[in-house]
């Protein structure tokens, strides 16, 4: 195993750079992103039983030792710059900045990388003067064993400038016996040395000692950086390519987090689940895996909005701990099994095509709060990977009251098809956007609007959530009041039945009253009627009377109407007194008229809603009071003692309180 020198970066800067990846899962995702960029289709993640290490195996194109040195383990060594925006398979690369290898530096002591690739490495050096000798090994930068050099290494020396032409090996330059150094016989001016190394059949095993690296930050000793990475190059036995990366000796705090048990009792949020479950959830959101497609999709309309041509994700990402492998799929709330159906007026299709930024997806509102809470917010995906956690692009700071509360009922997924993927638009770690990016400004304006007012797609969803809430609230108020009024009638009906069944003195009075056919109406009958039926509009929607509905009311937001089941007891004004049914008539009488009158001839009870007592109580209490008073007065037949006794008994009676 030989040391390998890294570029001269201050270790304290390395430490700071590694700090952009947090928590552990966000750092870990870099290994999966690397596998994706290496054209892997299948990635397998295996945790040790005690979470002391984790290994990522992919079936990608692997790395030569030189690619490992120059691209993987070098700050700013991202291959996007020199190899283009696309991988060999034509995938759009995720990585860009070339600091991904540092991601795990704070989470494990050492990173082991095993790989190999059958590719040829070529490089050249332009020398201003003809050197007497030229050492090839330091120029390659990777310590290759002597026995592997002979057949794989070749060089070409040519003059640079006007008299360009190759020098002849043997006559104008020679190799030393080991084949590691060139000797040029005569000064030919500036030359170009081209070195070519065939890596076919070679593999390597390298170690990045993060523990040592971060300790150097304290001493700031650049020279010791030589020993930070070590590499061993050898001939491999099998032709299989791919890369195996093992994060060894995971830090104790990582192990503790992974071992955390699920919180006891009823839990709804991801943050209450076990450490491994949380890891799986977040990894599935920040890696390019396919969408979860449930067998019975509750929201096919949402699935349709996400079915646009975009870059193919990994075929299979599997995480293994113990004996149970878990295949990861990207969870989307509307596509979850058992997720409520998104009503058409709450589903907003997102389509952005402006100044090179193309994005598509959806925003969905729900009538209830979204659980798990981690589903709330809009998730933005660039190149298959979500950028940071779902959020509202700062809209949450602008909103107040009901609008802010409505955010907990909004979820969404926006996939950037082009744009927003340049190096200067994403922060290191791909956790957020650079706000000065023009594309980001367009995206934000389209999604949440501009200025202090939240608009855009999010504004539309919030408006539909609030509208529904207002309609439901208004309807609940109407139904609640009707129910309370009905309850008052039922209370009085049950009280009369109860008192008659008890068979005491009041039972006799009530029985006698209910056998009577006399009318005692005196003036209230001619008072103007009062309407206590259902209103023509509730929450701005038209009310359509219906009957035999399964629920008390049905709201049709698309048709802008509420179907109200008016055949229910709540909308009837019948009062059953033992075995006689009376109709309760509402009158807006004068304050000096009686609170109510009873017409036993026509089976009617008149209630005066203009009575001053109404000012002191709510509708239900007033109705109870008026009915108890009228019944007591009529039954007691001018005996004030009996009247008070009966009225109090009727008023004190509480019907069953179980709804």
């Amino acid at each position: 195993m030989a040391g390998m020198r890294l570029g001269g970066i201050d270790p304290s800067i390395l430490r700071e750079l590694s700090g952009v990846y947090k928590p552990f899962v966000k750092a870990f995702k870099e290994l999966v992103s690397n596998a994706f960029d290496a054209d892997a289709d299948v990635v397998r993640v295996v945790f040790a039983d005690d979470f002391s290490s984790v290994t990522v195996t992919d079936d990608g194109q692997g790395m030569t030792p030189f690619e490992f040195r120059n691209d993987f383990a070098r700050i700013g060594g991202g291959s996007r710059r020199w190899a283009g925006d696309k991988t060999r398979k034509g995938r759009l690369r995720i990585g860009s900045k070339g600091i991904g290898f540092l991601a795990l530096a704070r989470y494990c002591d050492r990173l082991k990388v095993e790989s190999g690739a059958d590719r040829v490495f070529e490089t050249q050096a332009e020398l201003p003067q003809t050197p007497t000798t030229f050492d090839v090994l330091p120029f390659l930068g990777v310590p290759i064993p002597q026995d592997l050099l002979q057949s794989r290494l070749s060089c070409e020396v040519r003059r640079n400038g006007k008299r360009a032409g190759n020098l002849e090996e043997g006559r104008e330059y020679q190799w030393n016996r080991k084949g590691t150094r060139l000797s040029v016989n005569q000064d030919v001016g500036p030359v170009i040395v081209k070195v070519r190394f065939d890596c076919k059949g070679l593999a390597f095993r390298a170690y990045l000692d993060f523990d040592k690296l971060l300790r150097l930050a304290d001493s700031a000793d650049l020279e010791k950086l030589d020993d930070f990475a070590s590499i061993d190059v050898f001939e491999r036995n099998e032709s299989k390519t791919g890369t195996v990366i093992t994060a060894e000796q995971l830090k104790n705090f990582v192990r503790r987090e992974m071992r955390v048990d699920r919180r006891k009792g009823f839990v709804r949020n991801i943050s209450s689940r076990s450490g491994l479950e949380q890891f799986l959830w977040f990894l599935s959101r920040c890696t390019p895996v396919p969408y979860a497609t449930p067998a019975e999709n509750p929201n096919p309309a949402v699935a349709k909005l996400l079915a646009f041509p975009t870059q193919a994700p990994l075929s299979h990402l599997e995480v293994v701990h113990g004996k149970s492998p878990t295949a990861l799929h990207r969870p989307i709330y509307p596509l979850e099994t058992g997720s409520p159906v998104v009503p058409p007026d709450m589903l907003v299709e997102v389509g952005i095509d402006e100044d090179g930024l193309k994005a598509a997806g959806f925003l969905a509102g729900y009538e209830g709060i979204i659980f798990p809470a981690e589903y709330r917010g809009v998730s933005i995906r660039v190149r298959g990977v979500s950028i940071g956690d779902p959020g509202f692009l700062g809209a949450e700071a602008l909103l107040t009251g009901a609008s802010k509360a409505a955010l907990s009922q909004v979820t969404g997924e926006v996939v950037v098809l082009s744009g927003l993927d340049a190096v200067d638009t994403l922060n290191p770690g791909r956790e957020s956007f650079y706000e000065e990016s023009e594309h980001y400004k367009i995206l934000r304006r389209q999604l949440v609007g501009e200025g202090e007012r939240v608009g855009g797609y999010l504004g539309r969803v919030i408006a539909s959530v609030i509208r529904r809430s207002q309609v439901r609230s208004a309807l609940a108020d109407v139904l609640g009041r009707a129910s309370l009024r009905r309850r008052a009638l039922d209370d009085m009906s049950a009280a009369v039945s109860y008192l008659i069944a008890r068979g005491d003195r009041t039972a006799g009075l009530l029985r006698k009253l209910l056998k009577s056919k006399q009318s005692h109406v005196n003036g209230l009958a001619s008072a103007r009627p009062m309407e206590l039926g259902f209103p023509p509009r509730i929450g701005g929607l038209a009310v359509v009377p219906s009957d035999n509905l399964p629920e008390a009311a049905e709201i049709d937001y698309c048709a802008e109407q509420i179907r109200l089941d008016t055949s229910r007891q709540e909308w009837r004004w019948s009062l059953l007194l033992f075995d006689r049914t009376f109709e309760v008539i509402h009158k807006k009488g004068n304050p000096d008229q009686p609170i109510g009158e009873m017409d036993l001839k026509s089976n009617q009870v008149l209630v005066n809603w203009g009575h001053p007592v109404k000012l002191q109580m709510d509708e239900r209490s007033f109705l109870r009071t008026a009915l108890a008073w009228v019944l007591a007065k009529e039954a007691a037949n001018k005996d004030s003692g009996h009247m008070m006794d009966l009225a109090l008994r009727l008023l004190a009676f509480n019907s069953y309180n179980d709804g």
């Binding site: 039922d490 009906s493 049950a494 039945s497 109860y498 008659i500 069944a501 008890r502 068979g503 005491d504 039972a507 029985r511 035999n548 007891q569 059953l576 033992f578 075995d579 049914t581 004190a652 009676f653 509480n654 019907s655 069953y656 309180n657 179980d658 709804g659």
Partner: protein, 446 residues
């Protein structure tokens, strides 16, 4: 006011095969209901069979007392104004057992509209197990009148049978059945419970019917059976023995419960042999009296027969009732009888007394009973406490004493001795000496 009719009149004149009859077992409002799990409307189930076979009309059952999926019957406090029932300075907490009136309304309301009203019952027959459980019957009548105004309501059961005039005045029913039909030969239509089978099946001593009921119940997975009879040993136990013989071996977990009507004086060696069988899950003996005293010889005889039948000395399946709340009660006598019963049986159950309306016991005290509200005829309110001088508080102490004695005698404190002589001696000692424990609020100790 409801019309008072006999069952035969109602069946012959007012029910046709086109009728849809809903049989309803109403909830119960009571201060305590220890025998809740044994509430089963056997009369309704037998009437259902009668209606099917004789009238051929459609019959449904709505049992408000049926246990839920967890085997429990719902209990709720009564609303605030009726939460406590005051009797002579004592406040009795009041509860409603069975489904709530709100849930009952919810079950009845859809019947009005289902299938365009084709499933709406034309008649609802309401039963009551006791004559003093009338409040819930009245409320159920009202709910039916309100939710199904076109449906006729008929009352039957003990309230209608024993107090027909009162029931007709107090409940908004159409008919009050004062004379029930003879249903002794009718099997209970337990299939009305549908998929959710009842936890047990109530039986009467008609061997042909009972055996058929047991066989049918076992096929449906019901293995618990209880006898609803005033005298299960009648005819020297002939019918009982026949039922046992013909159901023996039907299922290894089949169990019988004797919860009433088991009189010690009438137990024969053959009946004792039956009681010793492991198929008997519980046997509660009625109080045996010889004149004014406890018939100790009857208990001794039972014990001897049981011993001969191979039943171990201590067997927690056996208990004995002791009456409390009778007009001539004396506290000392109740306590002594309790100890005496516990000398022969493993459990003591205090049985509060109230006379059945129309019975000799009721006629002897009719003037007194007429002077107190009907609701207070419930044995749990001890209606004769004024006559015998025992206070309500002292009756409650008796309950506590019984619980204490049962706890001491039936618990497993000495089970680690595994039935050795030492265990027996300790138990016997406890049985004899437990009443001497201090302190006690009982007057006999004072």
């Amino acid at each position: 006011m409801a019309k008072i009719v006999t069952a035969n009149t109602l069946l012959s004149k007012h029910v046709t095969r086109r009728d849809r009859v809903l049989l309803l077992n109403p909830p119960v409002e009571e201060t305590r209901y220890s025998w809740l799990r044994w509430n089963q409307p056997l009369d309704l189930l037998k009437i259902a069979s009668h209606l099917r076979s004789h009238v051929e009309c459609s019959v449904e059952l709505l049992d408000c007392m049926k246990p839920d999926e967890n085997g429990t019957v719902r209990e709720d406090w009564l609303p605030r104004d009726r939460r406590y029932y005051p009797v002579k300075g004592e406040r009795y907490p009041m509860r409603r057992f069975g489904i709530s009136y709100g849930d009952l309304t919810k079950q009845l309301t859809p019947m009005r509209k289902e299938d365009g009203g084709k499933k709406k019952p034309t008649q609802i027959w309401i039963s009551s197990l006791c004559s003093y459980w009338y409040e819930s019957v009245a409320e159920v009548c009202r709910i039916i009148r309100q939710t199904l105004p076109d449906t006729q309501v008929a009352l039957l059961g003990q309230y209608a049978r024993l107090m027909p005039k009162t029931a007709a005045e107090a409940c908004a029913a159409d008919y009050v059945i004062s004379t029930p039909p003879d249903l002794s030969g009718e099997p209970g239509a337990f299939d009305l419970y549908g998929d959710r089978r009842p936890p047990f099946v109530a039986l009467q001593l008609n061997p042909a019917v009972a055996v058929a009921e047991v066989r049918a119940a076992v096929e449906r997975g019901v293995l618990q059976f209880a006898f609803f009879e005033e005298d299960v040993c009648r005819e020297d136990g002939g019918p009982l023995l026949e039922i046992f013989a013909k159901t023996k071996g039907l299922h290894r977990h089949l169990r019988y419960h004797f919860i009433c009507g088991l009189h010690p004086a009438k137990v024969t060696p053959a009946i004792a042999g039956l009681l010793a069988d492991k198929q008997v899950a519980a046997a509660h003996f009625e109080e045996a009296e010889a004149g004014p005293e406890l018939d100790v010889q009857a208990y001794k005889k039972v014990r001897a027969y049981l011993r001969k039948a191979g039943l171990a000395e201590a067997d927690n399946r056996l208990s004995g009732f002791v009456w409390i709340g009778r007009p001539g009660d004396q506290l000392e006598r109740i306590v002594l009888r309790s100890f005496e019963v516990l000398n022969h049986l493993e459990g003591l159950i205090l049985k509060p007394y109230t006379p059945t309306p129309g019975s000799p016991g009721h006629r002897q005290n009719d003037t007194y009973l007429a002077s107190i509200p009907h609701r207070e005829w419930s044995p749990h309110f001890f209606p004769f406490a004024d006559l015998n001088g025992i206070t309500h508080g002292e009756y409650h102490d008796l309950y506590r004493m019984a619980a204490f004695l049962n706890e001491k005698i039936r618990d497993g404190s000495f089970d680690f001795l595994k039935g050795t002589l030492g265990t027996q001696m300790l138990r016997e000692s406890l049985r004899r000496e437990v009443w001497k424990l201090e302190p006690s609020p009982l007057r006999i100790i004072d």
